[in-house]
């Protein structure tokens, strides 16, 4: 049996867990585990994703997220149920909980997998490296096998299960397992159009030249209801905050249109923007790597063309 770790945040399901179930079902029969009583609210949703049994881990102290306590719960359950593998989403919490479970069980862990095939008693996994610019085939052994599934690779495929049983599971946890727990939570003020929700992103790289240079990109973004993004060179120079950075160590974006101004398209930037439906490049260098990968290319000095585009939009 495969145990699928379903994440929730105070009773709200993380949909990435449903993507994980798509891969998990290919490996065998899957049962789900949800941690903490607050998670009870999400159990019914799982029926649509082929789950007929949910293990709901209950404990007095399992109130809000606590990584070690969650990991320990997983390992106790996996041991008592003798599971073949534990799968989680390659989300921040998914990888964190699995990494702790792996440490507790002293077993290998393969993170951000995009494919798994069985070979004898092992799994041959394909996993992402370099934020997805490279993949690795690796052999994962141990019982249970521990892996996380890369986000945004699998669709959350629906398949209705006939019934749904919820089994409450008690676990043995102590104060030490709660040394790390959420103590406070500050809701973000709504910041208008954000990188992850914008339909269009106007992004700038070294070619923009300065923080003032971004004024024109801001203006263009505002006119077309978009957000401003940037490359790592730009954040390193302090021209823009890191929250604007697109790429391997920044944000992964998937807008309808990504306008890359003065960005060369290094692989670490590319993995962050390649999910855009269309990419428009503005660059003085026709040989820049991003030029070959784009949908539309303008070979021009951004300092000339961006103001000209703004003027044209205003003239409409």
């Amino acid at each position: 049996m495969i145990l699928g770790f379903i994440e929730h945040d105070r009773g709200t399901l993380n949909k990435a867990s449903l993507e994980m179930l798509t891969l998990a079902r290919r490996l065998g029969s899957v049962e789900a585990v949800v941690i903490g009583r607050k998670g009870a609210t999400i159990t019914h949703e799982l029926k649509q994703y082929g789950i007929s049994k949910v293990h709901l881990v209950v404990h007095d102290q399992l109130d809000d997220y606590a990584p070690t306590a969650w990991a320990k719960s997983l390992t106790q359950l996996a041991t008592s149920l003798q599971v073949e593998a534990i799968l989680a989403s390659g989300s921040e919490r998914g990888n964190e909980v699995m990494a702790q479970a792996a440490a507790i069980m002293n077993l290998p862990l393969a993170t951000n997998c995009v494919d798994v095939v069985l070979r004898e008693s092992d799994y041959i996994v394909t996993r992402l490296r370099w934020g997805g610019s490279l993949v690795e085939e690796a052999r994962l052994s141990g019982k249970p096998k521990l892996l996380s599934v890369a986000q945004h690779v699998f669709a959350a495929e629906e398949t209705l299960s006939e019934d749904l049983v919820i089994v409450e599971q008690e676990v043995d946890l102590n104060d030490k397992d709660f040394r790390v727990r959420v103590t406070e939570r500050v809701e973000n003020e709504s910041e208008g159009v954000s990188l992850t929700t914008a339909r269009v992103i106007v992004s700038g790289g070294r070619g923009v030249g300065s923080s003032e240079g971004f004024d024109k990109l801001e203006e263009l973004a505002q006119l077309i209801d978009g957000a401003v993004g940037c490359s790592r060179v730009v954040t390193n120079k302090g021209w823009r905050p890191h929250s604007d950075q697109v790429g391997q160590t920044g944000t992964r974006v998937a807008p309808d249109l990504y306008i890359a101004c003065g960005i060369s398209g290094a692989i670490q930037h590319w993995v962050g923007c390649k999910a855009a439906k269309k990419i428009l490049v503005i660059n003085t260098d026709a040989e820049a790597p991003i030029v070959q990968k784009a949908d539309y290319v303008v070979i021009a000095d951004l300092h000339e063309i961006v103001p000209a585009i703004i003027a044209a939009i205003r003239a409409l």
């Binding site: 990888n95 964190e96 440490a103 996993r127 085939e137 006119l223 290319v297 070979i299």
Partner: protein, 249 residues
């Protein structure tokens, strides 16, 4: 306040990644090397904590002899001591790496262990957590802001539409993400000093752990059609057509 920062030397490929014939590694002949970005920030964070609270910062890496370059870079920024866990150049799996680090610091008194959230190249997300477990330290990953005072670490990180705050008693282990700070550039005197500093070199043997790397592959990009809209401001009318086709104006 004694802080250990664990870093990794990684190549800095630009345009594309080229693999060796046996598909075991990236060809790095024409590439520069760097410290993984999250770890550059871990170094900066350690220095800031030290500047406020006193104490010392040690940097550690497991890697080939050439990883001395990254240790010296950290020392040029102000790190006091450096440890190299020297390998023969082959990549170690995450279990072997964490075991070697845990062994190397088993009898050392650190108040805080800092890691990068995940290494830039292999992205295993687990060395910090395994070392923390071996030391019996509490562990939190993905940290985007950190404040250390009076035996506690106040750390925060991003959740969907919110910031989560954690209060953790020291000693503790924490992994951080780029954006937590803007790392300083090493000063010239810093560089000079770093050149003369001693580096402790240990040569651990790898345990058999996992996962076992079989081979690497460069994913195929999707075929795409590139349309050149034009050169210079003469491209503006075509750009406008595209923006209008896509319903942006």
């Amino acid at each position: 306040m004694n802080i250990l920062v664990c870093i990794k030397r990684v190549p800095a490929p630009g345009r594309s990644i080229i693999l060796s014939e046996d598909k075991q590694e990236i060809i790095t002949r024409n590439l520069g090397f760097t410290i993984s970005p999250h770890e550059e920030c871990a170094i900066e964070e350690a220095l800031r904590i030290k500047e406020k609270n006193g104490g010392s910062v040690t940097v550690l890496t497991l890697g080939p002899d050439t990883a001395v370059e990254q240790l010296r870079q950290a020392m040029a920024q102000g790190v006091d001591e450096a440890i190299l866990l020297q390998t023969d150049g082959k990549e170690w799996d995450p279990m072997a790496t964490s075991k070697a680090i845990a062994d190397a610091i088993a009898d050392k008194d650190f108040d805080l262990l800092l890691f990068g959230n995940e290494s830039a190249d292999s992205g295993g997300y687990q060395v910090g957590s395994r070392v923390a477990f071996a030391k019996d330290f509490p562990f939190l990953s993905g940290v985007k802001s950190l404040h250390v005072a009076e035996g506690k670490a106040i750390a925060s990180r991003e959740a969907l539409h919110a910031r989560e705050i954690y209060e953790i008693d020291l000693p503790a282990a924490i992994s951080v993400k780029e954006g937590i700070n803007l790392p300083r550039y090493p000063s010239l005197p810093g560089r000079m000093r770093a050149r003369r500093k001693e580096i402790t070199i240990l040569k651990p043997a790898p345990i058999s752990g996992g996962p076992e790397k079989l081979q690497l592959r460069v994913p195929q990009g999707e075929e795409n059609q590139v349309e050149v809209l034009g050169y210079g401001v003469e491209a503006v009318p075509r750009v406008m057509e595209v923006l209008q086709e896509l319903n942006f104006c």
